[in-house]
Symmetry: C2
Subunit: 252 residues, 2 copies
């Protein structure tokens, strides 16, 4: 089974979708076959890669309730070597529906037990919560990648997320590791960014990754063109940072 | 009953907490008595005003399950004239618990039927989702205030949020109005900010507010000192923008 990385943080806007798309694209660029799973009802990974969530015949909801396989729901994206299982707005209702089902936390793990032949890595984009959808991702994953902004509120949530990691390991998935904490939207001109970076390096030295993702407008422009930043502006600081992140994760 | 404003957007990181705290502080500065309700399990409004979510004896969860009144749970904040009903991490579990209760969407409305004497305005900070906690806020509110970033992904979610407004009006709360859409983290140096602003003004002309909240590092520094930006740096562009927002909302 290929590695499964859950990109997770209950804090909103920290760069989960941006990291899922661009890390996936950086890994695909060096030859890995990537499957992205969009588990967020906002379907930002889906639309950020140029797909219309409304028009997808099958989506991740169908795989959670067992009406479709991952292979059937996965579609090609604008990034060579990267497929996606799209999301849909109706997934928001699934959380309340899943709450009443059996094996409600492990449905995605079951679905990912069989994936398209030759898949090298699976990346799951999670919604900004620790509800049932995210628990499904953490049950299925081999490791969690935690993007976090260099901001005070983002710092607050890290302790609780690492506590949740322990809970999931003891109850749902003893194999769940931590791929790392990646600092995103880093603005070297502000003392706040440096203060938060120093604090994260002090309190979580074993988990924080060396690669810093800078605040770079090309990163936030790319999704409106349905592309990763690697395709949209290959020579940008944003593309370089996500290539460095891919390399650092492969080496760990 | 005083006006109740739900600060809501399922997109994460758009400035819901920042707007709830600083709009509240700007209204308190001109003499209104403000009650802030922190309905987000991340408890960022609570910690951003210098309170420790873990140490609060009572919190919003107790008011939702009827074990405490709003009056009993409300505490003073560092902002003169502003009280808060604090949140707690355990609120995350409440959503699954609420799903099995009767009148699960209208528990907060019931609790807010009696508030401390002299309360001029109630502001509810919502989590980044459209689940049961947010539905409780929308059932209780007289209007919704929608902060949105000048970014592509934030633009995507607006249509769905306005559709949700129609649903809530037809099923739960016919009086729910729209206080407005406020553009936050506006960076005049990027064409993306101007493109998104033009698009929002074109597609939602009746709802988008004139006041633009600029990206201003003093705004993101203030919560680490437990203060609103109005207290932390009263002469900053961030403080001026939230005062202008308060004035514009009072005039509408
Ligand atoms: N390094 C960066 N430089 C500039 N903009 C960025 C960067 N990373 C993310 N952004 C922008 O910031 C916003 C938030 O990022 P993103 O949507 O990826 O976060 P998220 O954690 O997935 O949010 P949510 O919690 O809503 O799922 C997006 O508009 C994105 O384009
Ligand atoms: N105008 C601004 N200028 C600079 N920083 C800002 C501004 N508005 C918000 N921020 C910062 O951006 C981050 C996101 O804002 P905030 O946490 O208020 O959003 P939110 O919508 O409440 O997030 P969540 O979806 O997690 O609840 C915070 O770290 C905040 O300090
Ligand atoms: Mg996202
Ligand atoms: Mg918030």
């Amino acid at each position: 089974l290929p590695p499964i990385i859950a990109v997770v943080n209950q804090k909103g806007g920290v760069g989960k979708t941006t990291t899922a798309i661009n890390l996936g694209a950086a890994l695909a660029e060096i030859g890995h076959s990537i499957l992205l799973v969009d588990l967020d009802p906002q379907a930002n990974s889906t639309s950020g890669l140029g797909l219309d969530p409304v028009r997808a015949r099958l989506n991740v909801y169908h795989t959670l309730i067992g009406e479709a396989t991952i292979e059937q729901a996965a579609v090609l994206t604008s990034v060579p070597g990267m497929r996606i299982v799209p999301s849909h707005i109706d997934l928001a209702g699934a959380e309340i529906e899943l709450a009443t089902m059996s094996a409600r936390e492990t449905r995605l793990r079951k679905a990912l037990a069989s994936v398209p032949e030759g898949t090298g890595c699976i990346i799951i984009d999670c919604p900004p919560s620790l509800g049932l959808l995210t628990l499904n991702a953490l049950s299925a994953a081999t490791s969690m990648l935690i993007p976090t902004q260099c901001e005070y509120f983002a710092l607050e949530g890290l302790r609780h997320l690492l506590y949740t990691h322990q809970l999931v390991r003891s109850r749902l998935n003893p194999n769940l590791g931590i791929a790392g904490i990646v600092m995103t939207q880093f603005d070297a001109r502000t003392t706040l960014s440096w203060d938060v970076l120093r604090e994260v390096r002090r309190s979580h030295p074993a988990h924080v990754l060396e690669t810093l993702i800078p605040r770079n407008v090309r990163i936030s422009e790319a999704p409106s063109h349905g592309k990763s930043v690697i395709q949209y502006d290959p020579s940008s600081r944003g593309a370089a940072a996500y290539r460095a992140l891919a390399k650092e994760l492969l080496e760990r």
